[in-house]
Amino acid sequence: MTRRVRAGAGVLALAALPLLVLVVFFALPVAGMVGRGFFVDGSLDVAGVVEILGRGRVHRVLWFTLWSSALATAVTLLLGLPMAYVLHRLSFPGRRLLRACVLVPFVLPTVVVGVAFRTLLADSGPLGALHLDGTPVAIVAAMVFFNLAVVVRTVGALWEGLDRRREEAAAALGASPLQVLRTVTLPALVPGLASAASVVFLFCATSFGVVLTLGGLRYATVETEIYLLTTQFLDLRAASALSVLQLVVVSLLLYAAQRTRVSREQALDRAGIRTTTRAPRRRDAPVLAVSGLVLLLVAAPIAALLVRSLQLDGAWSLQSYRELTGAGAAGALATSWRVAVDATLLSMLLGVLVSVVVSRRPRARLERRGLAFLDGLFMLPLGVSAVTLGFGFLITLDQPPLDLRSSAVLVPIAQALVALPLVVRTLAPVLRGVDPRQRQAAASLGAGPLRVLATVELPVLWRPLLAAAGFAFAVSLGEFGATSFLARPDRPTLPVLIYQLASRPSEQSFGTALAASVVLCVVAVTVTALVERLRLGSVGAF
């Protein structure tokens, strides 16, 4: 066996377990779900699918998904850009804390975000006078809130690495600050902007918890429509037709994102040790003002949630928190915690394997293509409807040898798959960033492959590993789409319980939902804060 073939076999062995998991717990359920749509009584029925896709409601849902996601993406970019500048190009006391604060919405469970916005915008709420509750504006605002961190982090990390002298050269050649921004800075940020935009659009178009809690039956995205069709109308064919549609769109988007990432890695020309931040100056005032406003917008729903959870019938009260035990919140939190631990372990195991595989840089064109394909493949759970995944689990994993429907492992597995792309996106760039010559230098000094791993790769990897674990934990804690199908009625996770409580008409139930949201919030933020304490700066690119 030649060395090259042996190396190729090694890669395959590493990729085998993640691939197997992906096939059994992702491809199979999704295919099962899709099969339900295309096959009626054992025969292919494309005309039926076409008929479904021609329905007026489907068009409305599709149109709403597209325009609300596009609008939310545009607004997120617009608000995130000044924020990225302030948090990554200026240095001032408290910057680190602010960076952590901006990250908070991203790790908040989507159901909690939905509940928080309803509290803020309800007619009796602080912004009730705007009468935005139940309007698309509320949905778009919640999407922006949720995704701001993606833009700030992705663009900020790139911006931080840009050599300031390039802008200075342009200024010295006569370019005004706006011209510098337009002709030098923005073109350099394009890869980051494109990458952030595609991810944000993806998150918006597949967002479930937020839309379900804020849009009700009136405003549905493809994702919530799939949920409604399966659970309310039991129209599996229509649901799976929509799943297929979503899968196609998402695959195209991921392909585009992959392309920008490749060009970005080529174009990245880092400033190295030279510091690129400076103290704020007077002309930064407008940007600082905009950022302050954005921060207020981010803080408002969280503050509203907290305040309302401490009130009942207009008076301060801890009653909602006392109700938590009666509503089974303690048990739900314990379930959530256990599931999150399992899901985190599983997603880390898979994520490390996948990252090691996709971060290799083979010479041969064919191998490179293969790796790029694998990379995209493991990103798919990011965009495939979690609802499709959850429902697919139910209909495909219900017969021997894989009769897992009543098993407790389904929820952690589904959540691990949802968290996997995030883990890979955090680890793979770090591994790719290790100069291969460092490995070669270590090897030439007498280090064996394991020794190289322990002395060269592990030292740079352990912090990102912890960060990825933290993210996976937070994601799992808040996962709602797949879990809402898979959690057993007697053992709901906390987000599922919150949704149930919030959908009941009683004021007290909503109050308890708020209290439970605050508890979930505190747990998620604590985990994230611990991760941030590791001073990771901006690891990862989504």
Partner: protein, 335 residues
Amino acid sequence: MLEIRDLTVRFDDAAPPAVDGVSIDLPAGDVLAVLGPSGSGKSTLLRAVAGLEPVTAGSVLYDGVDLADVPTHRRGFALMFQDGQLFAHQTVAGNVGYPLRLRRTPARTVAARVAELLELVGLPGFGQRDTTSLSGGERQRVALARALAVDPRLLLLDEPLSALDRGLRERLAHDLRDILVAAGTTVLLVTHDQEEAFTVADRMALMRAGRVVGAGTVEEVWRHPADAEAARFLGYATVLEGPAARRVLRAAGAADLSGALALRRSALRVDPAGTLHGRVVSARSAPDAVRLTVDVEEVGEVHAVAAVGDRGTMLGVGNDIRLAVDLNRTARLAG
């Protein structure tokens, strides 16, 4: 003309200022090199002149106008960095034409001017190249063309050739001088490389720890280093003081025996008719000469050279030899 008056730049109140009360005059059309080791504050001085660093005290004037409230992009200068800082998203022509397009120059004029500039820097026909495909020297030429595109009233060069390897650097230094003279540009250049400064500049200011220690024409600064440290930085191998300096000056037949004396490596030459007596400590062949270390009576260990042909005859370690002094290869310290 550029006037820098008592300029001070301080980054941190606790630390000494990066630029400390520097005053420099640069007449229009002249090329001034600010020479200094890294950390001497020369780059900060350049950035302050460009308007990129806030000035703590003092002023920068151009043609009598104080530039304190003029932002970088309105100063009419151009700045070229060590590594060119070309815009990766534009072609060579895009980069060179950038300052012209900023000024809304018609496309046809831009194209003609770009071609002319690329001709000037010796890269005709490179317009459609991608900047990433260029070699280090080519990148610097493109950066220079870009900086010259709108006839800046002052061209600021930050270590323009330092990132290049030695042979290329020497060739490009001559080209740079020719291009700058042909364009008639006023240039402020900072560098840590004395050869670069000598080749490119008419005038020189030596900078150390934020202060200017010695300024004038290249010849003046070269001939009269301010002190021993300045002399060493200018490439003088040894600085002699007191009796040792007097002994060498007497051997050279100088009338004035006062002051410290800086010697280049080749200031002392093996010569049977010389009046300095010494013993060879080490000898090593170089392409053009034999480089010696000699323990000279009343002077101490100094460097000396011998013609290549002398090798082996009398230059063995421990041999007694005679040395003559070439005063053109020495400098009296100013202080």
